[in-house]
Symmetry: C2
């Protein structure tokens, strides 16, 4: 069965069809390239793309029948991960045309699994806050979120079924939520970061943007050598903590409605929903994440600062200067504070399959200069827990709003099973409109 629009297929379905000989890699890659050709002028998701080289990879896959779990399937790579055959420019003029001898670990492992590296996706400058040209494919006047802007936009626009992102604050989950797709950040330090340009190494986590939980699970298995089956079954009656977090005042009505709708859907499908409050001390996590981020940016960009200061954005320069002014003592105390919170959370989450929490403040803001607030994602990034966003509903402007599920460190597969349950059993699919949500968002405190 050849599908009419192979670029709309999921990663898992593409892999199944190619493996079965029902779809060729060349057809699939050509369909993605056609979609890009039709839409890239508007969306601007790609930092570098070499269609002929992508097609050559696809032909090689078709010529070699046996293959890995992603044989012949195209993927996108955020432009902070080294690729031997494409430039790695990191959204910075300093690295214009930069070539590396080797692939990053994640890229090499995707290739070893048979994937076609379709191209590099646009990143904010050094995976930070200064955006590239990418637009939200659902509304070109709005940001796609960042810093994995191109990965979010390309996957949402059916240009590629899955793209790698990285999250230091909220750079995987926020663009996924803003673009109406699925974004997943695994437990810290479980996907190898060799060949990643660090933003802040105590935070940076490689993750996936895709269009289904199943696709995220498949990607995770490839990059973590796990043998688990997709595990869409999930718990029969999950126990879920409803965690509004200490940032709840930032939640716009859309986010409040999304959380209520997701909790109501889960409860209706049999989940036990329990209010879950973070300890008061956790309110320091947002500032702690900023401290770590600023110190580590100052250090990881020390060469760029010394040699190319004029080519660094004003916002990044501000972060670097803040980081330079923070003492080693404060930095180390902050790292220890984060460790303490991680341990405490491990204990608090005992007995819960997941927490459900806001993913973003609300819908994607209008304008391209601001890629959105990382607060609701960043606190979980610092806690090193696995986190996923799935679309929950459409806000008052018709834009998607996701909810976030998190689990204990290393419980990545269990989290994906719970997320799969929420989508498949509880029916959360992001198509409901806000006005139609199960219950309205609460009034701000």
């Amino acid at each position: 069965m050849a599908t009419e629009t192979p670029n709309e297929l999921s990663l898992a379905e593409s892999a199944r069809l190619v493996a079965a000989g029902e779809l060729s890699s060349t057809e699939l890659v050509a369909a993605c390239l056609d979609r890009i050709a039709a839409r890239e002028e508007d969306v601007q998701a790609w930092a570098s793309l070499d269609p002929e080289h992508a097609m050559a990879q696809a032909r090689a896959c078709d010529a070699a029948r046996a293959g890995g779990p992603l044989h012949g399937v195209p993927v996108g790579i955020k432009d902070v991960l080294d690729t031997a055959d494409l430039p790695t420019e990191m959204g910075s003029p300093i690295y214009k045309g930069n070539r590396t001898l080797s692939d990053s670990s994640a890229v090499a492992m995707l290739r070893a699994a048979g994937a076609v590296i379709l191209g590099k996706t646009v990143t904010c400058e050094f995976a930070g806050v200064a955006p590239g040209p990418t637009r939200n494919p659902l509304d070109l006047a709005r940001t796609p979120g960042g810093s994995s802007s191109g990965s979010g936009a390309a996957v949402a626009d059916r240009m590629v079924p899955m793209a790698l992102g990285t999250q230091t604050g909220g750079s995987v989950l926020r663009p996924a939520s803003f673009c109406g797709v699925v974004g997943f950040k695994p437990t810290y330090n479980t996907i190898n970061r060799a060949g990643l340009k660090f933003a802040a190494e105590n935070l940076d986590t490689i993750g996936f943007i895709a269009r289904s939980v199943e696709d995220v699970a498949l990607s995770l298995r490839v990059l973590t050598q796990r043998a688990d089956p997709p595990g869409s079954a999930g718990p029969a009656r999950p126990r879920i903590g409803l965690c509004r977090t200490y940032l709840w005042e930032k939640a716009e009505p859309e986010t409040r409605a999304a959380l209520d709708h997701a909790a109501a859907a889960a409860a209706a499908a049999g989940a036990e929903i329990v209010e879950f409050e973070l300890p008061a001390s956790f309110a320091g996590l947002t500032e702690a994440r900023e401290t770590i981020n600023n110190v580590e940016r100052a250090r990881s960009l020390a060469w760029e600062w010394a040699n190319h200061r004029a080519a660094i954005s004003v916002r990044m320069a501000r972060s670097i200067e803040l980081g330079q002014a923070i003492s080693g003592e404060t930095y180390h105390a902050t790292l220890q504070f984060a460790d303490t919170c991680r341990l405490a959370l491990d204990g608090l989450m005992e007995g819960f399959d997941a927490l459900i929490a806001p993913a973003v403040n609300g819908e994607a803001p209008v304008g391209l200069a601001y890629a959105g607030d990382p607060s609701f994602q960043g606190l979980w990034t610092l806690l090193h827990v696995p986190a996923i966003t799935v679309p929950a509903l459409r806000g008052s402007n018709g834009m998607p709003v996701g909810v976030q599920l998190v689990a204990r460190r290393y419980a990545d597969e269990a989290l994906l099973r719970t997320a799969g349950w929420l989508v498949e059993v509880a029916g959360l699919d992001g198509r409901k409109a806000m006005a139609d949500a199960a219950s309205p968002g609460r009034v701000p405190a």
Copy 2:
């Protein structure tokens, strides 16, 4: 005061003299280059060296009077850390002539502190176990240890006062002990690793090889933005745990004598010495470290494996194949086991200024093909604690044997103060011969 042999000066003394205008950077760097010219044919510590470029850096320092804490002082860089002006070859033919656009974070921060980057020091292949050509300067028939072989040999041979190393198993402390100098590995993830080729990212730690504790403290302050004074004062009556570890059977008589001698010297100077036994479960740390090392090597070298397998050493290939065969489940369980041990150790070390433990099995072995056993260093590497080795005595072959001091995570400065106390107050200087040691090593169990 111009010294006759500036290359023999410590890092701190060099920096003081240059800052005071009593020694020029060009005199200092020229003396180091002269020493290298005289000895390099025998020692082979350097992977790349550009004497004219080093002198140009020195002249620039002399021309610019004001400077950072390392103004005009030469340092060596292990050849797994990126340098914009010298190749980064990683001890592998795959990376012959490899150039990077930028400096690694540690190198850029050293430069920002005024240091002259003298050259790149020889590393075992990818900071692993396949040695380069470096010889032990104290006995050319013996290994200098590895994988920071060139850093250990160059510092011991007075070619440079300090060199960066990296430790994944025992790659900083072992060469330091084998070459009779000081080696320090800080708390994991406190020196920025941007621009380091990862061996195993959950273990890799950038450290220093120098000829005094003061020099290590100075280097640490530069790379961690700490403002502390050198802190040679140390505790008046330190409480030290004597930790033979579960590996004690591996300790040769020289190591037993070194530990006893150091403990006796500390006790004689007023320290409280308490036998300290690790919990039985910690005996799994050695295998756990190997599991993590193998899995992460397989991943970080995935590109090299796919594209240049024939250029990978047999020993590295074996590690990669072992790593590929380990499931993600086992890997994650191993990471969690290590986390558990770290937490337990934090509690057990409460009330101790440091533990004293074996640094190495014994003297540097004869021959260059085997860089020594990482077990005594590796267990502490996996525990992420700061660790330092200082020379304790001379073994039966006249070669140096160090002891190791470790402290709680983030207690790096306190550890250095205790180590300084052991050297300066307790008088441990490594000059005592084994036969003359305070008490003989115990008979193996």
